[in-house]
Symmetry: C2
Subunit: 294 residues, 2 copies
C-alpha cells in the first residue's frame, strides 16, 4: 500500500472519480482517452487503466472494467439460467457493452435473445475497444435493437419471455424510467408463467434510497415471496458491494432450485471467473442491516 | 449520485484518502479533527464524517468507522465462537479500538480474554471518542496489556488458548511482524488442540500480494485442510472486499460445524448488525478467481 504522495491531487486527466458527497472511488487512467462521444443520451468514454484493463464509463460513472466485469455479468446471467428449468426466449434491456450477452450464449438451451439498448454509441465503443466483453454481439441467436427499452416492453406481447434481464446504468438520464413501477408491470406482463427477471439494483450503501425504493417496487409488482435480493463484490463500483435482484412470476426460488449438476457442467466447460454453485447460494445471504432495509 | 462538481479537488483537510496507485477510496471528513497523536509507532487520528459516523485512522488508513465497523468485528469473532464447541481462554493481538472485545464479551462461556495492543494511543483515542466501539475495554474478563504481540506469543506457554484473534492493521509499521511464518508458528504452539485462530488477511484486490503471501504462510503452519479464507463486505475499506482467515489446530471445519441454534440464540438476544447463520456459511464461498489465487 502506498499513501498518496500528494494527497488531494487527483488530476481529472489521470483519475475517473465517482463521488456521492460522503465517499468517492477514484480509478487511475493512463495514456490517451481511447473513445469519447457525446451521444444524444450521455457521454460515452473508454479509458485504459493501470491494473484494471480498459474501462467503459457513461457520464464518468464506471460501467465496467476488463478486470472485474465478470462478477457482474456472470451473476446477472447464471443465477437465473441455473435456476429456471428451461429458458428459450430472453429479453435483455440495456447491456450495451455486451458482457451479459457473452454469458447468455454459453447456455445452448437458449433459442432467441432480444436485446434493446437505447444508445448505439455504447455498442459501437464496446465492439471496437472492448472485444473480450462484446464478443457475442454478432451472435446468430441475438436480435440487437437500438431502441427505448421502456417503449419496447410496453408494446411487447403478453407471455413472450422466459427470462428478462434489466442491465441498466444508474437511475439518472435514460435509465431513470427503468426504476419505475409501470415499467416492471410491463415486464411482468410479458413474462411467461414461471418466468424470471434479474435486475441491476444498485449499491445498498452508495445508492441507499434507490436500492430501497427499487426493492419495494419489485415486491409490489412480483409479490414479496417472489423477490430475492443478492449481493456481488464489484471492487470497481463505489463501496464494492453491489446488489442484483431476482424476481419471478410464480417461478422457482433461486436458492433451493439451483441445478447443481448443470452449474458444475458449465463451470467445468467454460472459463468462469466469479460464478460457482456455492457463490450462487451464498449471494442470497444478506447481512442483518440489509435485511432490515428491505 | 452526484458527480463531483470539481473533479480532482480532494482537499486533504476534507477527505481521508487511501490510494494504492491504481485506485483510491476517499472518505469525506467534517469539522475539526477530534484526536491527533504521533505515537512512538504511528499517527493516530479520529475524525467525524458526514454519513459514516466517527472514524479512526492510523497513518491515514481507515481502521474503522462507526457506520460499518460491525461487519469486521462481528465476523472476526462470531465465526470462530459459533464453530468451536467451547471457548474459555482467548488471546487477542491488536484490536486497540475495542470492537473485537465488545463482540467477544457477548459470549458468556468465555472466562478470560488477554488482549495485547502495542499502541496505547489507539486504546486511549477509542475509549475517549469511540464509546460504542470501545465499550468493553473495561470488562472484568479482560486483561489488557500494552505490549508487543510478537514477543508476547513468543513467550506464551504452550497450549494456553482456545481462540486467538489477530486483529491487526496492514503489514506496514508495527504490524509487519504479524504477517510472518515465525509469528504464526508461535501462535500455533500456544493454541490448545482443536483451537482456532482468525486473522485479518487483507483485501484480495487492493493488497493482492499480502493476501496471497499470508494465505500461503498460514497453510504452511496450520496445514492446507485447516485454513479457510472468508470474505466480508466492508465499504469503508478500499475495494469493499475484505478477507479474514479461519485456521485451526486440527479443530472443527467452520462451515459444517456452525452451531446454528447457538447462533440463532445470540442473534435473537443481541443486536448484531451483520452476522447471521446464513452469512457465516456464505462468507466461505469464494469466487473462482480468488480460489485460484490461494
Amino acid at each position: 500500500m502506498v499513501l498518496s504522495e500528494q494527497p488531494g491531487q487527483f488530476n481529472p486527466e489521470e483519475w475517473v472519480i465517482d463521488d456521492n458527497g460522503k465517499m468517492a472511488l477514484s480509478i487511475r487512467i493512463q495514456g490517451d482517452r481511447i473513445f469519447h462521444e457525446v451521444s444524444p443520451y450521455q457521454t460515452v468514454e473508454v479509458f485504459d487503466t493501470p491494473g484494471n484493463g480498459k474501462m467503459l464509463t457513461i457520464d464518468r460513472m464506471v460501467m465496467c472494467t476488463e478486470a472485474d466485469e465478470a462478477a457482474y455479468h456472470e451473476m446477472i446471467v447464471h443465477v437465473p439460467m441455473l435456476t429456471h428449468p428451461q429458458v428459450k426466449d430472453v429479453l435483455v434491456i440495456g447491456a450495451g457493452d455486451g458482457g451479459t450477452i457473452r454469458e447468455l450464449v454459453r447456455h445452448q438451451e437458449i433459442e432467441r435473445i432480444t436485446m434493446v439498448e437505447i444508445d448505439e454509441a455504447v455498442v459501437r465503443a464496446s465492439k471496437q475497444f472492448l472485444p473480450t466483453i462484446s464478443s457475442a454481439l454478432e451472435h446468430s441467436k441475438l436480435n440487437l435493437l437500438i431502441d427505448d427499452g421502456i417503449n419496447f416492453v410496453k408494446n411487447a406481447a403478453d407471455s413472450s419471455y422466459d427470462l428478462v434481464i434489466i442491465d441498466s446504468s444508474d437511475p439518472v438520464g435514460p435509465s431513470e424510467g427503468l426504476f419505475t413501477k409501470s415499467f416492471y408491470q410491463d415486464v411482468y406482463r410479458c413474462l411467461r408463467p414461471g418466468g424470471v427477471v434479474t435486475v441491476q439494483s444498485e449499491s445498498p450503501i452508495f445508492h441507499r434510497n434507490a436500492f430501497i425504493d427499487l426493492n419495494k417496487c419489485l415486491k409490489e409488482v412480483f409479490g414479496i415471496e417472489s423477490v430475492h435480493c443478492y449481493l456481488v463484490f464489484i471492487p470497481m463500483y463505489p463501496t464494492g458491494m453491489w446488489s442484483l435482484t431476482y424476481c419471478s412470476k410464480a417461478g422457482p426460488d433461486p436458492v433451493n432450485n439451483l441445478d447443481v449438476s448443470k452449474a458444475e457442467k458449465i463451470i467445468r466447460e467454460q472459463d468462469l471467473r466469479y460464478y460457482n454453485a456455492d457463490i450462487h447460494k451464498a449471494a442470497f445471504a444478506l447481512p442483518n442491516f440489509i435485511q432490515k432495509m428491505i
